[in-house]
């Protein structure tokens, strides 16, 4: 059901007036308190079609809290989350996913002992038509074909779609996880530290993946410590500091040094001084 809806949205011809559309995801004054501790305070931003937005910040700046709120795993204490202009209240990550917010977790959430194609269909297996299907008989051919196509869209070549996930490299596994996320007509892709455990070549592959997703018009919210990558792939950079969204930078008009200044809070000092 959710697929139909989001496909309809993708089909709406609005290439000219992107600015007129409501943002895919918008946060208005979102905050989260744990008792007297404030993890997140008055955070507002929006993400539009085809954008790659990076979310950076030091450990404890509130990134995980924010990610969990958008992914539906955590309810905000105050504020509003809007999906294409409609206010939402997710009670679980499953609900967020049904609304098209797909999250690629740091650990990728892949089953290493089953083939790549099966991982693309976890919990959404295609069954055969007819009585055999009613008994749970899987339509492997259909799933392999669809998985092949979805992986093709990621621009990453993988060893074999029938190889077990555990036999793939880190970048290829990332591709499987991303292909799974974008295969269901997702509205937005949330990537949590995708390069944390990857080498240089595989970090590059993740960059390719993000570009491929962007080209399809699906916005990406990239949470990362990896500043070179953030500078290379993002359009905008949001900086969190002690639970506040302290700065929004256009990637094309900033430098790594400036981003670091805002992450460490040094930018705030300068702002206060001037």
């Amino acid at each position: 059901m959710s697929e139909n809806r989001s496909q309809a949205n993708l089909a709406s011809p609005d290439a000219s007036g992107v600015g007129a559309d409501p943002p895919i995801v918008e946060l208005r004054n979102v905050g989260k308190h744990y008792g007297r501790i404030t993890a997140l305070k008055h955070v507002s931003f929006s993400i539009r079609k085809g954008e790659v937005v990076a979310l950076v910040g030091d450990n404890g700046a509130g990134k995980s809290t924010l990610v969990n709120i958008i992914a539906g795993a955590l309810a905000p204490s105050v504020g509003e989350l809007l999906i294409e202009g409609e206010p939402m209240r997710f009670r679980s990550a499953n609900e967020a996913r049904q609304m098209g917010i797909e999250t690629v977790y740091q650990d990728l959430a892949l089953a290493n002992d089953v083939p790549a194609w099966a991982n693309l269909f976890l919990g959404r297996e295609i069954k055969r038509r007819g009585p055999l299907g009613a008994l749970g008989w899987l339509d492997k051919k259909a799933m392999i074909g669809a998985a092949d196509e979805a992986l093709g869209r990621t621009k990453i070549r993988i060893k074999s779609i029938e190889a077990k996930c555990g036999a793939l490299s880190g970048g290829q596994r990332q591709a499987v996880a991303v292909a799974r996320a974008i295969n269901w007509g997702s509205r937005m892709l949330l990537m949590d530290e995708p390069t944390a455990a990857l080498g240089v070549e595989q970090q590059h592959q993740v960059g390719v993946l993000i570009q491929a997703v962007r080209e399809e018009g699906t916005p990406v919210l990239l949470v990362s410590h990896n500043l070179p990558q953030v500078m290379a792939v993002s359009d905008r950079i949001l900086v969190l500091f002690h639970g506040h969204l302290v700065k929004e930078l256009a990637t094309a008009r900033t430098t790594t040094d400036e981003v670091i200044k805002w992450i460490t809070g040094a930018g705030l000092v300068r702002q206060a001084a001037s």
């Binding site: 990550a93 499953n94 977790y105 650990d107 959430a109 892949l110 089953a111 290493n112 002992d113 089953v114 099966a118 976890l122 919990g123 959404r124 297996e125 069954k127 008994l135 749970g136 008989w137 899987l138 077990k164 555990g166 036999a167 793939l168 490299s169 880190g170 390069t195 944390a196 455990a197 990857l198 080498g199 240089v200 595989q202 970090q203 410590h225 500043l227 500091f241 002690h242 506040h244 302290v246 040094d257 670091i260 200044k261 992450i263 460490t264 809070g265 040094a266 705030l268 000092v269 300068r270 206060a272």
Partner: protein, 370 residues
């Protein structure tokens, strides 16, 4: 917000970044270890790894052929009809238990109770059938009731196991060790430790009929049909796929919306039901229900599953591999009898094959999986 930090904190951040990059690279080295030429294993290790790679095991099949050849040379009777019938009948109970055990082990669990469940459900169904024989019911109907009782008993114990594993969050080893004890004691309590021999004639017919001019015992056909069904279930259906996924990465399964607990309960019930069927087949084979039926069978069943290529960590295992494993164990036992080796050596041989299988499994993990 505005702390006393100054823009000069920059070198520290650079250092942090460097450390991060270092850590990242180190991780990469680990994850791609087998792509590197430096860690190339020796040729022997490679060969063993290749043999171990074929899951559901070509190497297990090789072992099976090897022991057949050895016994065939040592004992001319090995390829006789009588030895085949003895071996296939012997294999029935282990095959039935190992089928369920394959599913349980694929989820990363273990069912130590299956042998005891075989005994308990077989004995309970025999007691029920015996008591019904006093009345006027048709013997065929009594047999059917007996089969249903055995399967329902197995299902009930499996449900209990699954419930304790998923809802009470106890480890499968402890849960099934508990039900192993309870079911064993219960078996003796049912008829005060006596055998039950007053059974409907259909039970004896089931156990003694051999088709294909004396080559194909019917109870073996029943077990083979269950094996084919289990193979289809595990390799072709969503149930089987979920079994592997739950064993491979339970967290990923939950995130993908799979009902992990419900699936685990079903798997333990399946194992119990197959043990229930095995209970009837063993009763039929000996045309008597004995309280010692099934005792310690779980160990050979687990051995067969592991010899067949499954890993106790879950996520893999195939019915074909398990079936080969069951025949390796069964042929070792009946073959050693044929070559007049003291029967006590049978368990030693099964244990040795089991250890070799586990060592190969470890090797496979090191060599074949990235």
């Amino acid at each position: 917000m505005t702390t006393d930090q100054t823009p000069e904190t920059r070198p520290e951040d650079q250092a942090m970044e460097d450390i991060g990059a270092l850590l990242g690279e180190t991780n990469d080295d680990w994850s791609d270890a087998d792509d590197d030429a430096e860690r190339t294993p020796s040729n022997l290790m490679r060969l063993l790894g290749f043999l171990a790679k074929g899951e559901g095991g070509w190497w297990t099949f090789g072992v099976l052929v090897f022991i057949c050849v050895v016994f065939g040379v040592l004992a001319p009777d090995f390829f006789s009809r009588s030895n085949w019938v003895a071996t296939s009948e012997y294999a029935v109970e282990y095959l039935m238990l190992a089928l369920g055990e394959t599913f349980v082990i694929a989820t990363g669990g273990i069912d130590l109770a299956c042998g005891a469940v075989l005994g308990f459900s077989g004995m309970l169904s025999a007691v029920v059938m015996q008591s019904m024989l006093g009345g006027h019911a048709d013997t065929l109907l009594i047999t059917v009731v007996g089969v249903v009782v055995a399967i329902a008993t197995g299902a009930a114990i499996g449900l209990f196991n699954g419930f304790m594993v998923t809802k009470a969050k106890l480890t499968p080893f402890i849960v099934t060790l508990g039900t192993l004890g309870m079911a064993t004691g219960g078996t003796y309590l049912l008829d005060n430790g006596n055998q039950v021999s007053n059974l409907p004639p259909q039970i004896a017919t089931l156990g003694t009929t051999i088709w294909l001019s004396g080559w194909l015992p019917v109870i073996f056909v029943v077990a083979a049909v269950f094996a084919i069904g289990a193979s289809v279930l595990l390799s072709r259906t969503r149930f089987g796929m979920w079994t592997y996924v739950v064993g491979s990465n339970p967290l990923a399964a939950r995130r993908a919306g799979l009902k992990v607990d419900r699936h685990l309960i079903k798997v333990y019930m399946l194992s119990g039901m197959l043990a229930g069927v095995a209970g009837v087949l063993v009763t039929a084979r000996f045309t008597i229900a004995s309280p010692i039926a099934g005792a310690n069978d779980e160990l050979d069943a687990i051995a067969a599953v592991v010899i067949g290529g499954a890993s106790l960590f879950g996520g893999n295992g195939t019915i074909l591999g398990t079936t080969i494993g069951v025949f390796v164990v069964s042929i070792l036992v009946t073959g050693l009898v044929l070559v007049n080796v003291q029967p006590f050596w049978q368990q030693v041989a099964v244990g040795a094959v089991l250890l070799s299988a586990v060592m190969l499994d470890q090797l496979r993990r090191r060599l074949a999986v990235a």
